[in-house]
């Protein structure tokens, strides 16, 4: 029984270190290779020893696919390819390929330089790892090998994020990575065609949330920033994820442009600045507005937003600072929960005097979005990853209820096995088809018709050809299979007369068959030969020799049973 097996090494009932093993029709694919933000020990990387205990990963895995450049989807890649050892192809989209090494390098710096970790991957390893990458375009079908093909779909979320369809023969799996079903200021919405995969592996970060319209949120944000700046204040916006920084930049930039504002906006140098270069390059991946504006100018070439120079720090005047990266610590959480006095290390007490606003600019699909995507793709079953167990439970129930498909939510290391019934395409030879067509009308759905032919399996493809052609192609001689049966008849008359009687009898019974009486005394019905002979011992008994080929088995056996019943008494 063919089956699809899915084992999450990470992101199973969890957010972080996305890594899912899929084996489909004998092909093994690893989807994403991320790290976990919450751990600093071995647990931060997926347990690759699960894949194979001994032997090289390259032999076992056919390819690795990275959905987008966030570290929880690609953070373990250099470790996996260089330190564990994998030499096979790694597929990702062009923007991901461009931006991924920047993030990895940044991550390495923080881990090694700041935290002083040893035994971490080096810059060189990142470079070596990126050499194994094969970049793909949207909607481009890439043949990994003869049977395995992958295809990327637009996923929104961040620049270059893609959903991947993995297809072997007629079996397919779609992996969404992270995606966003509502467009934002710089990216469009995820889209997939009705590809009807056997399995859809989807993220479920916001499985229990239905979000409000983004317009309200944006307006609120802009109003707050605008008011604060107008009052002469400074606004600090810590942006956690790369991509969101650009989103806010675009949002503020267009607003500044529209409203003719002059207050400077800065973003922190380093990561965001580097990434911005690539954002300028990959305009085709952005949304309608930015693509259309590109005719006049590149919207990522900001007019009002500049990289932050430390020398500005003492400058008076309003200022909006947008750091690209900031580790979410407990302080932030405390402030957000309304604490006004913070105890710092060393018993220092800090009073929070600033005004804190909370806003969510998440780029994940909400429950409705996930359902919408499931509706678009029409999968046979769904598998949830990248979310919390409790929330998944809810969504699972909803999916099963509304789409009536199976839904799975395996934990890390747990394997889900899905039986599939792959359809096997069989090519039919034109000659055979034409011959069949000539015999009658087109086949009707309600009245199936039998078609005789020979199935040839050669070079892993199937062909249905006429038997003559098959014989010719395979260079075989035709074997005739003949059945012969003796029927004893009690008939004292001569053989010829018996034959005539048989003939007239059959003629009367088998009206729609061709019954002939040959000059040599034998009778034929179609191709069945009947000969009458006198019994050697008993002259009163005649022996009817019935002989037919395999093809006429039906008629032959019918004829035998008919003759066995005996001939009707002559009228005389």
């Amino acid at each position: 029984m063919p089956e699809i097996r899915v084992t999450p090494l990470g992101a199973g009932q969890d957010v972080g270190r996305s890594c899912i093993l899929v084996s489909i029709a004998g092909k093994n694919v690893m989807l994403d290779c991320g790290m976990h933000m919450g751990f600093n020990d071995d647990r931060r990387f997926p347990d690759f020893s699960y894949i194979t205990r001994n032997g090289r990963l390259t032999d076992f895995l056919d390819c690795v696919i990275i959905s987008h450049f966030h570290l929880d989807h690609c953070g373990a890649l250099p470790y996996f390819s260089e330190m564990v050892g994998y030499d096979g192809p790694i597929y990702m989209t062009h923007p991901t390929q461009a931006i991924c090494p920047i993030l990895l390098e940044d991550y390495r710096k923080i881990a090694v330089d700041k935290k002083g970790e040893a035994n971490f991957f080096t810059s060189q390893m990142i470079k070596d790892c990126m050499k194994k990458v094969v970049a793909v375009h949207l909607h481009q079908t890439v043949q990994v090998d003869d049977e395995l093909e992958i295809k990327a779909y637009y996923a929104g979320h961040v620049l270059g994020a893609a959903m991947f369809q993995i297809k072997v023969g007629s079996e397919s799996v779609v992996y969404t990575g992270d995606y966003n079903m509502t467009p934002d200021r710089h990216l469009g919405a995820a889209w997939i065609d009705k590809c009807r995969p056997n399995l859809l592996i989807t993220e479920s970060t916001y499985a229990t949330t239905i979000r409000d319209s983004k317009r309200c949120r944006e307006r609120d944000f802009l109003k707050k920033v605008h008011e604060a700046v107008e009052r002469g204040g400074k606004v600090l916006i810590p942006v956690f994820a790369l991509g969101r920084a650009q989103e806010l930049c675009i949002l503020l930039e267009t607003f500044w442009e529209r409203m003719n504002l002059k207050a400077p906006i800065y973003f922190s140098t380093g990561l965001t600045e580097k990434a911005n270069h690539y954002y300028k390059l990959f305009i085709t991946w952005t949304n309608q507005k930015i693509r259309k504006t590109f005719v006049q100018r590149n919207m990522f070439e900001f007019k009002h937003i500049k990289a932050f120079d430390r020398a500005f720090a003492d400058n008076p005047g309003p200022m909006v600072i947008m750091p690209g990266y900031c580790v979410q610590g407990t302080v932030g959480h405390k402030i957000l929960s309304g604490q006004r006095k913070l105890e710092m290390e060393g018993r220092q007490v800090l009073e929070v005097k600033m005004q804190v606003e909370y806003m969510s600019f998440s780029a994940h699909a909400d429950a409705k979005g996930i359902m919408q995507l499931v509706g678009q793709a029409e999968p046979e079953s769904v598998l949830l990853v990248h979310g919390e167990a409790k929330k998944m439970e809810f969504l699972k129930q909803k999916i099963e209820q509304e789409f009536r498909v199976n839904c799975y939510m395996p934990a890390n290391g747990e394997t889900v096995t899905l039986p599939t019934s792959p359809s096997i395409p069989v090519g039919i030879s034109l000659g055979l088809l034409k011959r069949e067509m000539a015999q009658g009308l087109l086949p009707d759905v309600k009245k199936p018709r039998l078609l005789h032919g020979t199935l040839i399996m050669k070079d892993s493809n199937f062909r249905l050809v006429s038997s003559e052609q098959a014989l010719k192609e395979l260079g075989l001689a035709e074997h005739q299979l003949r059945f012969t049966c003796r029927v004893h008849l009690h008939d004292p008359r001569k053989e010829q007369e018996t034959a005539v009687r048989v003939y007239s009898h059959l003629k009367s019974v088998l009206k729609d068959h061709c019954v002939q009486h040959l000059p040599d005394g034998s009778v034929t019905v179609e191709s069945i030969l009947i000969q009458a002979a006198a019994h050697s011992e008993d002259p009163g008994t005649k022996v009817l020799l019935v002989s037919w080929t395999y093809q006429d088995e039906e008629l032959g056996s019918y004829l035998t049973s008919l003759l066995k019943k005996g001939l009707p008494q002559a009228s005389s």
Partner: protein, 1110 residues
């Protein structure tokens, strides 16, 4: 040359003698020395070079355009015209023979381009020869040049022989008359075609020209005949399509070819041709809508081919069914039950066809049936619903339409909800389904769905309101939307404090079972539609919101928040659309303060269109509180300081805001005017636009709030008086205590009295026309009076201004003409001196100008007025001619002028031939009577005749058009008030913003120009971009553009003048004479005169180009 030529001979001393003039030997020598080609006298040099046989030079010269076109190419062409030179000889010969008797002779030249034409004109030639007319026939030839080119060649060659010749294009006309029907030509063509490609070429050529109705049938027969013989499917395809085209010919009844078409349909094998034939049948069927029998027959044919394997054929069959499927059931009752099939069922069966194109066609056919008035069955609804989940977007898109149609047909029927026992109204169900399509994968479908939502008016209100509610939740807890929160904040009084956070924390836990994630009816459709990725979808959603809100006030209230949110869209078009939408529904709504706040925030937008749209929105908005008014005022003033150009728009906005909310403004007055109960406050600056804005608001509010003036301080009254005068359109008349009400014409009460003034106008014009036999002096005086009266009338009655001005202008022309003719000087026989004729020629010039103004500056001028205007112009031209004749010595220049004038008369006659009977006894009438005489007589005589005629000619009665408006323009910006010169570096450009309103200008994009006059007399004309014109209302336009000025350095700042011009082209108005066929350009092109009329006051701008610093 010297080797063999007999051209050279030697003299006694053995020197070579070449018998050639040496004039052009220089260039030849030049070429031989340095291979330089001559630049002048190329033809002559070419001849020389030919003589000397300098082959390379000949070759080079031949390649030069002057010679190539004239000599080489022409010769090449003429060589291909068989017997050209012989024919030419013949022509000259014939002409000479005839000329022996008379001084001139006429030879008919018949030029035929192609064999086909030759065949056609054979008969005509025979007739002509029978009449003993001398005819020379050229052609046919096989080369690209046309008949005209040949005639040109003939003309040139005849002239080269020294004969004068006049060309008349009679031959072509005659030929046209005797041209046989098209069918014959086609027959010849198709018989000649040897290959399918050839035949196809012929057919293509044939299709280019229309066919007369009477010959259609013949052509069709030939086509069909060929069709049967043709083996090539592409030719058959073309024939089939031609049949379809031909059957559409007006005046031809195609029922006679239907049998044949059906006949060939049965034997056709090619699917493409089949499809085309069905298309032809469709054309035939639609041509005969009332013929039931044919329709039934065609439907039968369509049904038979529905099982075809090709999608194209099935498509066409369905189209046929949709267009021709029988509508009435009456035929069934007559007992022909079998004949009429259930078209709907047949089409419905193809909803599940395997080809998406056929499915689409089936749905379209069904929609077509609906459009033709057939009531669709309700059963179709379920079928259509299934199609909503089709794989192909065209199918889904069409299915959405079908569902909409059915929902409009059966809004009230009840349908069950699947998987439950409940039932709902069909229109609600359909609404839910279409709402669901707003989140479809294809944006085409989304646009379609969003558009249709707007027109579903019978939907229950709770369904409607669901579209705005997404049923938010966060972590399985019910969450309120930001809009709800804003509302709550507002009601709790904490609005806009901004000092609260965590208020969006989700509240109560919700039951997991109750949450419905998809298929939940209309839930949140607009929320999705409004944040769609494609702006097309967003615009469609905004439009739909607008339509629904207009029909349901409660929905309008609800959708307000969402519309306000759209003001922040990233695409300007969407923002503008949502502002307009809001304006349209603003009667139904009152803005809450927080909503107003959001609306007002957009006032800072840098796009002028957005701001102005917003001002207009504010004009008709209802505000609920006095804080709201205050907020609006503050924001508007802020806007004013940021964008001073918005001044007028803001004032206007405040005017309406004030008059709509007098009671809300009242408590604000002391604060706004900063008056104090006990102390006098400083008098504000009267020139401050912000202060004026405040006053506009207050005065308009005070109009309906009599208690308000009590709060005014003294200077406010003074300012009122000032503003009432200077900005009367913004400040209404107030009933102020202790002051007389300035009873400035309260317009509504005057309205019934409009008649007398109109009567007055009529009477005064009548008087002028009737008293034309008065003595000259009297006439002049009367005219002067009337003109003055009319002008005054125009000033007083704005609605009659157009008519009054128009007639006044006409009378002025008349007056000028009379005055000019009164000059004593005419009696002097001797030629006049230039000085003496000043008045007359100036008058002529002015009349011309005025006539152009009359023709082009007024909207609503009809043909009968145009005739009179042109007539007047003709008179002016005559006057000009006379004046010139009398002032110039010598006759030569007169020849041209006379000719031109006569041409114009001719042109006039041709253009206005239909109106000539109305011009009895006029100048032109008489002129035309004498036309033959004028043609032959000498200029001096012509002038004489003209002079007497001008004096004798009578006044023409100018019929007044129904509606006539004078085009006018006011330049708002630049205002020309600034004393500070605009400084810029000379040689570089400076941009000057121009903002003007145009009234009653037709097609301003092409006619309105901006002119800049520099002090040194330089004038520059600027064509504004079409996008610079906006159309705020009927008959009104607005021009907002930038004019780039540049000049060399001046020493002192100087003023340049900016004004608007109306460009005209006299050809545009002239009605096409019926006999001039389209495509042929009338020969009088040269009479089209282009010019400009200034139609706005010019504004002076102070500029100062400084020399560039080195």
């Amino acid at each position: 040359m010297f080797s063999s030529s007999p051209k050279a001979c030697t003299d006694a001393e053995g020197r070579l003698f070449i018998d050639r003039p040496g004039t052009y030997f220089g260039p030849i020598l030049d070429y031989l020395r340095s291979e330089r080609l001559p630049t002048h006298h190329i033809l002559e040099v070419y001849r020389e070079a030919q003589f000397y046989e300098i082959k390379p030079l000949v070759k080079l010269l031949e390649d030069m355009p002057q010679i190539f076109g004239e000599q080489v190419a022409r010769k090449q062409f003429l060589l291909r015209v068989p017997g050209y030179s012989e024919n030419l000889e013949l022509m000259v010969h014939l002409a000479r023979a005839e000329a022996v008797a008379a001084r001139s002779s006429a030879v008919l030249v018949c030029a035929v381009r192609s064999e086909e034409d030759a065949a056609l004109c054979a008969d005509a030639l025979r007739i002509l020869e029978g009449e003993k007319r001398s005819v020379v026939k050229f052609g046919p030839w096989k080369a690209a040049p046309q008949v005209k080119d040949l005639l040109d060649c003939v003309k040139m060659d005849i002239e080269a022989r020294g004969y004068q010749q006049q060309q008349e294009e009679i031959a072509t006309k005659k030929l046209r008359l005797t041209k046989p029907s098209k069918s014959a030509a086609l027959h010849i063509d198709l018989c000649k075609a040897t290959s399918p490609a050839d035949a196809l070429q012929y057919l293509l050529q044939f299709a280019r020209k229309p066919v007369e109705a009477e010959s259609v049938e013949g052509v069709v027969r030939i086509l069909l005949e060929h069709y049967y013989k043709e083996n090539d499917p592409s030719v058959r395809l073309k024939i089939a399509s031609l049949l379809g085209l031909l059957s559409k010919t007006a005046g031809f009844s195609p029922d006679c070819i239907m049998d044949d078409a059906i006949n060939i349909l049965q034997n056709e094998k090619s699917h493409q041709v089949l499809a085309q034939l069905l298309d032809t049948l469709l054309a035939i069927g639609t041509k005969l809508p009332e013929n039931q029998a044919i329709q039934i027959r065609l439907v039968d044919v369509a049904c038979k081919h529905l099982t075809d394997t090709s999608h194209g054929v099935r498509n066409k069959c369905l189209q046929l069914l949709g267009n021709l499927g029988s509508l009435e059931k009456s035929v069934t009752k007559d007992g022909e039950g079998l004949a009429v099939r259930d078209v709907q069922k047949i089409i419905g069966d193809y909803f599940s066809d395997q080809d998406p194109r056929v499915r689409t066609a089936a749905i379209k056919a069904m929609l077509q049936l609906h459009e033709r008035g057939l009531k669709l069955h309700q059963a179709i609804y379920n079928q259509a619903c299934k199609l909503l989940s089709d794989d192909y977007e065209q199918v889904r898109s069409a299915a959405v339409q079908l569902i909409w149609v059915v929902s409009q047909l059966y809004p009230e029927s009840i349908v069950p909800i699947p998987s439950s026992n409940e039932e709902i109204r069909l229109v609600d169900d359909a609404f839910g389904k279409i709402c669901h399509m707003v989140s479809d994968g294809s944006w085409v479908v989304r646009v379609q769905a969003a558009k249709l939502l707007g027109s579903m008016e019978q939907v229950s209100s709770h369904f409607l309101e669901q579209t705005l509610d997404k049923k938010l939740m966060s972590d399985l807890r019910r969450k309120r939307t930001a809009h709800e929160r804003a509302k709550e904040l507002y009601s709790s009084g904490e609005f806009s404090s901004g000092r609260k956070w965590g208020d969006d924390a989700p509240k109560e836990e919700i039951d997991t079972g109750a949450v419905n994630l998809i298929e939940s009816g209309a839930c949140g459709a607009f929320v999705h539609g409004l944040e769609d990725e494609m702006y097309e979808v967003r615009i469609a959603a905004v439009e739909a919101l607008c339509m629904l809100a207009q029909s349901s006030p409660s929905f309008a209230e609800k959708c307000l928040d969402f519309l306000v949110d759209m003001f922040n869209d990233e695409i300007e078009e969407v923002r503008l659309q949502s502002i307009h939408t809001m304006r349209k529904i603003s009667n139904n709504i009152t803005l809450r303060e927080d909503q107003l706040d959001t609306v007002l925030a957009v006032l800072e937008d840098s796009s002028r269109d957005i701001r102005e749209a917003l001002h207009e929105l504010l004009c008709c908005t209802n505000v609920s509180t006095k804080e709201g008014i205050h907020l609006a005022l503050v924001e508007l003033l802020k806007n004013l300081t940021k964008y001073p150009t918005d001044r007028d728009s803001i004032w206007k906005c405040l005017k309406f805001l004030g008059s709509r909310h007098p009671t809300l403004v009242l408590p604000l007055v002391p604060e706004l005017l900063s008056t104090h109960p006990f102390f006098d406050t400083a008098e504000p600056d009267m020139d401050d636009p912000a202060y004026i804005a405040v006053l506009v608001l207050i005065f308009n509010a005070a109009k309906t709030c009599p208690t308000m003036p009590a709060l005014f301080s003294d200077h406010t009254f003074r300012h009122y008086a000032y503003l009432r005068d200077s900005l009367s359109h913004l400040v209404p008349a107030l009933r102020l205590p202790g002051r007389k009400l300035v009873s400035s014409a309260v317009s509504p009460s005057i309205a019934p009295h409009e008649d007398p003034s109109h009567q007055f106008l009529q009477q005064s014009l009548e008087r002028v026309y009737s008293l034309q036999h008065l003595d000259p002096q009297g006439t002049q005086e009367l005219l002067e009076f009337t003109i003055r009266d009319l002008q005054r009338l125009g000033e007083l009655q704005s609605e009659l201004a157009g008519v009054a001005d128009f007639s006044a202008t006409y009378l002025r022309c008349q007056l000028l003409l009379i005055k000019a003719l009164q000059e004593k000087l005419w009696n002097v026989a001797a030629p006049l001196y230039l000085k003496q004729s000043d008045l007359a020629s100036a008058a002529a010039k002015q009349i011309m100008e005025e006539t152009y103004k009359m023709e082009f500056m007024y909207s609503g001028v009809e043909n009968k007025q145009v005739v009179i205007i042109h007539h007047m112009r003709l008179q002016a031209k005559a006057l000009q001619l006379i004046v010139t004749a009398r002032t110039t010595r010598g006759v030569d220049p007169l020849f041209g002028m006379c000719e031109k004038f006569l041409q114009e008369v001719d042109f006039f006659q041709r253009c206005f031939i239909a109106d000539l009977p109305h011009l009895q006894d006029s100048f032109v009438d008489k002129l035309l009577d004498l036309m033959p005489r004028l043609m032959t007589s000498k200029p001096v005589e012509v002038v004489k005749i003209l002079q007497t005629m001008l004096r004798q000619s009578t006044f023409l009665h100018l019929p007044l058009p129904e509606q006539i408006h004078k085009a006018s323009a006011t330049i708002i910006e630049p205002a020309g008030e600034s004393d500070n010169p605009l400084r810029f570096t000379s040689g570089l450009v400076v941009a000057l913003d121009v903002d003007a309103t145009l009234e009653h200008v037709q097609d301003p994009q092409s006619t309105v120009k901006v002119q800049v006059l520099y002090p040194d007399g330089q004038a520059q004309m600027i064509h504004p971009k079409p996008a610079d014109f906006r159309n705020p209302g009927p008959g009104r336009h607005r021009l907002i553009t930038q004019v780039y000025l540049s000049h060399t350095a001046w020493t002192e700042p100087c003023q340049v003048e900016v004004r608007l011009l109306l460009a005209y082209n006299s050809n545009s108005r002239i009605p096409k004479s019926p006999w001039i066929e389209g495509g042929e350009v009338s020969p009088q092109v040269e009479t089209s005169i282009e010019g400009t009329i200034p139609f706005s006051k010019s504004v002076k701008v102070y500029i100062m180009p400084k020399p560039a610093r080195r």
